[in-house]
Assembly symmetry: D2
Homo-oligomer: 347 residues x 4
């Protein structure tokens, strides 16, 4: 079988290197090109030395990929940059998975309000598909542009959704307390990502105004038709990878509830989803490290009438590169789990 | 001036060694005895080698301290053990600061229901004082038995209190999402405290049933006269020290609110408290490491009408040994900050 | 093609879980049985929860595997225990890879002197083969019992060997300063493996008397016919995985030398070895994490006339489970890299 | 008693903040000024938020300190910058402790050869004193310019010195394998000090050419009159603080030796030194964290005839700011341990 010819645009970040790892191990994909505007001409493995001897190809400029007969491009560049490539390649033959935030929201106005910048190529909102396979696999399989979800939204939406779908809770008052590993902050050297700033430390940030808030609300509202409002607070964990979201919702349904019933319900909702595990014990982030799993653990507290859901993912995998590969598998009619049948590297 | 003759009962844990550090540096305290039933006869510094050359005294058995003419005993033993010493020494001349949970709750019944064991010396509930100096400094100064607060409750109560005191929020629906460093789990070797179990990991535990829940509720209810109910979820951070609690409460007051007004209010409530800092920026746990500070940062989110408060402490200091010294200072009429004018070891 | 039916004896440790990960991903192996004397009857995934939904089989007792028509057994039990199974199964049909130290040394006398215990089944020394594929692939391919090398010796021997083979250095005065991640100390809870004991800490141990010293010396002496003596000092790193050995040897050869010439020489010596990478830059342990690579970086310092070699491996992979799979591939005529074409999980 | 009026020139780095911590706690020093060219006008505590409420003074420019009637300046700026201030203030009334490398070496020529830059103010070599109090306390007490030793040299020199002084070893073939915490690399954001680059990683760097090599050799040679040559290899540990040096030397003396005899000898050599602890057990870096101690542990291996010495310090304390305060205490006739009677923050 001919392999899918893929390119990664944006090689220097953590998402870029994680994509390279996954494509190199994928049975049906070839990594034909990796691009970097700042490092073109260098070896990929000189920037990410773990690939020494494995992925040594020379980085090219993004505008050189059109000569490469590519089938699929992964855009691993910052928001605000992706839109230019999507405009540049609006008539190109290849499909695109965009890992930035440029087309995740419903419309350019919301984007501009939460991202604080003008959107320069709004027409692609018409055909971009939000790449959460658990919700939109049909649309993804026909898409030519997929907007890969944010890491926090992936963890949050998958944890909250069954509660709203089943009308169990007040969708208007959901609290999501999320904690992410340091790779979520990107590879750029800045004082906040210095080793000694993160090590042995822990803090919240962007309280009440993180962009992922509106992504969570729009997707949940759109999918459930219940207006959803969330209080989302991200925190920075002293680990490389992993997101754990602790979700609090007040039960409003009259039905009797207990933790066991909640587990059954979550199992039903996600019955056919290969990357959702409803865990029997409280999960830790290390148990999904390096995998595309989202582990969920819902509980009901009769004392307070609250439902608490724990949701864990690897932010670079299910929160970025792994989900991008999952989307690509759907776009090209491959098995959903192709190249993603991985087991956590623990310890 | 004669120094206060102190003893630490229970030398092998983290709280015991932290007390030794603080007493050794305290201008008005002498460390006359350290006890350990399991290690009596050994040097304290052979168990905690950082004290080599500094605190080399030989560990004795607890029943030997009565000969030592002690003024003050710190009980650094597990709950269920403290009560036996308190019974044993009910007529002793010295005062006691108990760092266990044996006398923190209002009554033996609540203790037995949340701690799952019979209480064997209930009469001391009559004279034990809850050792949160910000609330009970008068009672503490006259007490002969102080129940030193739990680590999570210290962080939680101090963060929540101004909101209920000022009738700003629904006291019945408070969410406290707390994250603690690994020393909170104690020094005993067990599979859950293994390095490779905690490192690069993060998880919740005791969802809905942690003992500190009722301690938080009873103290807040008692102090504010508003029935308080909290959803408290502890998590385990891959750091040695520190607790960060993220507190969510729904604003019910009709008054206009914003973050600046909240800061002013917190500053007023804690105006005379030497160990409360109302921070201007979102605080991290490393900034209180090794100190007795509780750093607070309240915010108001007009979009959701929620108040979010960040509260950070060092669990071994303000959450245990530091607060115990603070209580001792009050009990002996010393300056509140004596021996506690420390600056965070950062990085 | 029929898959090789494998069993892991000893499921609870880190080596056991790493073997399970590798076998589950291996194209030509089936994991037919996992044993544990202490946890028989439980699910493997209840002990190692990262395997939830992936390897959920029930643990059996070791004596039950004979009914399973096994082709290959991995012994992932402590030294002193392996020998009993090897005696028990001396006439069994299956082959054995023993990951303990019981048959790594030349003879029972040396074993007893360095391991401090009597050897109870000495006859297997006659047919056990030391499982370092870079040296003994022919012998391994015919072996029915392979003694999988120690983690430190793997890193040390591969780093030193070219120097002695080429007669470049004084083989009698080699210094090996090794640093290992915490999984090297095993999964058993003890005070030394407590999170807060290892985190933010670093120390040497077993100075001058670690058992791996003699393993390094015997294998190097046997292979090169030059009597080799090493000063080996292990240290404990605050990371989960990885060994970095810094090797110092005094150049005695008269030939002109420089770092580039050394690199060429190492490349020649290891030309056909799929898991040895002679790195162009100083390597870090994270670049081999989760892989079976041994990365080497030799240098020559003309100022001191010393050769310094950096050697890095993942102690659970090339230092244990990965090398065991490599040996198994050789024993069953598979491609050397089968199931081991992995890329480092970095970050 | 009037306190010594001190200034810190260079506030933004780790050394600057550690000096501020120590001076704020010092019984005989006042922190009159802190300077920063890049952040003048900001609060010190806005750069190092752990000082919030404790050291909130406004940063000034270095050229403003002359108006402040200063007694003592700590230069906490990079090498190459210090020399300009020392020239500028060559006739000033205050004394100077320079924490950079500008005056640690014997002469400008060696400086230029190892630091790769021209020295612009060479005359101060004539009166600069190397600030290792264990060797040069008399000279330091009379000095007006002290060159505070490098972190690696402090750890290395103190560990090696007794061996050469007593003619036990071949001074010409000493191996020093050093491992340092990440604060040694400074506070400047660069890709190598990124959290995810250091966390779970470990590597050597500057093999054979680190500047501290010559500092170690010159000081040991000068003090012992035996030409000393060392093979020094630094490594980067995933911890904030701490240096552990493992020192290897070949015994050449004819005298009988064992580990106990070595310990006695070290105790004699350092009998009057308040910050040297000859430890009875192998030390870890966490046991000196936050203190000015250098913990030493020498051993003799009769099998190889090597002496191995473990030497640990906190690189920001005994390796920088703590030693600077020690030097200042000597320069002003204070008790050596003034402000430095600290106990390790462990855990």
């Amino acid at each position: 079988m001919t392999k899918i010819k893929t390119a990664i645009v944006g090689a220097t970040g953590f998402t870029g290197s994680e994509l390279a790892r996954l494509i190199a191990l994928h049975p049906s994909m070839d990594l034909v090109a990796i691009t970097s505007e700042s490092s073109a001409g260098e070896k990929f493995s000189s920037i990410h030395p773990q690939f020494f001897g494995l992925v040594d190809q020379i980085l090219i400029r993004a505008d050189e990929i059109e000569e490469k007969n590519i089938d699929l491009v992964f855009l691993a560049v910052p928001h605000g940059v992706s839109m230019h490539y999507i405009e540049l390649w609006k008539n190109a033959d290849f499909k695109i998975v965009d890992l930035s935030g440029d087309y995740r929201l419903n419309d350019p106005e919301t984007y501009e309000s939460w991202y604080g910048k003008k959107h320069s190529f709004t027409e692609a909102f018409d055909y971009a598909v939000y790449g959460l396979p658990e919700f939109f696999s049909k649309e993804i399989s026909k898409a030519r542009l997929v907007a890969n979800p944010g890491c926090y939204p992936t963890s949050s939406i998958l944890g909250v959704y069954p509660l709203i779908k089943e009308n169990l809770v007040d969708a208007n008052r959901i609290v999501i307390d999320s904690k992410s590993g340091a790779t979520g902050a990107g590879i750029k050297a800045k004082s906040g990502t210095l080793y000694s700033q993160i090590n042995e430390n822990f803090n919240a940030y962007a309280i009440g105004n993180h962009r992922h808030t509106v992504e969570i609300e729009q997707i949940l509202t759109g999918k459930t038709k219940s207006a959803t409002k969330v209080q989302f607070t991200p925190h920075l964990l002293p680990v490389d990878r992993g997101i754990l979201s602790t979700i609090y919702a007040q039960k409003t349904a009259e039905m009797e509830l207990n933790t066991q019933r909640l587990h059954e319900l979550y199992r039903e909702v996600y019955a056919d989803q290969p990357f959702i595990r409803i865990r029997e014990e409280v999960p830790g982030i290390k148990e999904v490290r390096g995998t595309n799993f989202c582990d969920l653990y819902p509980t009901y507290d009769p004392r307070t009438n609250n439902i608490i859901v724990i949701s864990t993912i690897d932010n670079l995998m299910k929160g970025a590169a792994g989900q991008a590969i999952h989307n690509a598998n759907l776009m090209f009619g491959l098995k959903e789990t192709a190249g993603l049948d991985l087991i956590s590297l623990k310890p």
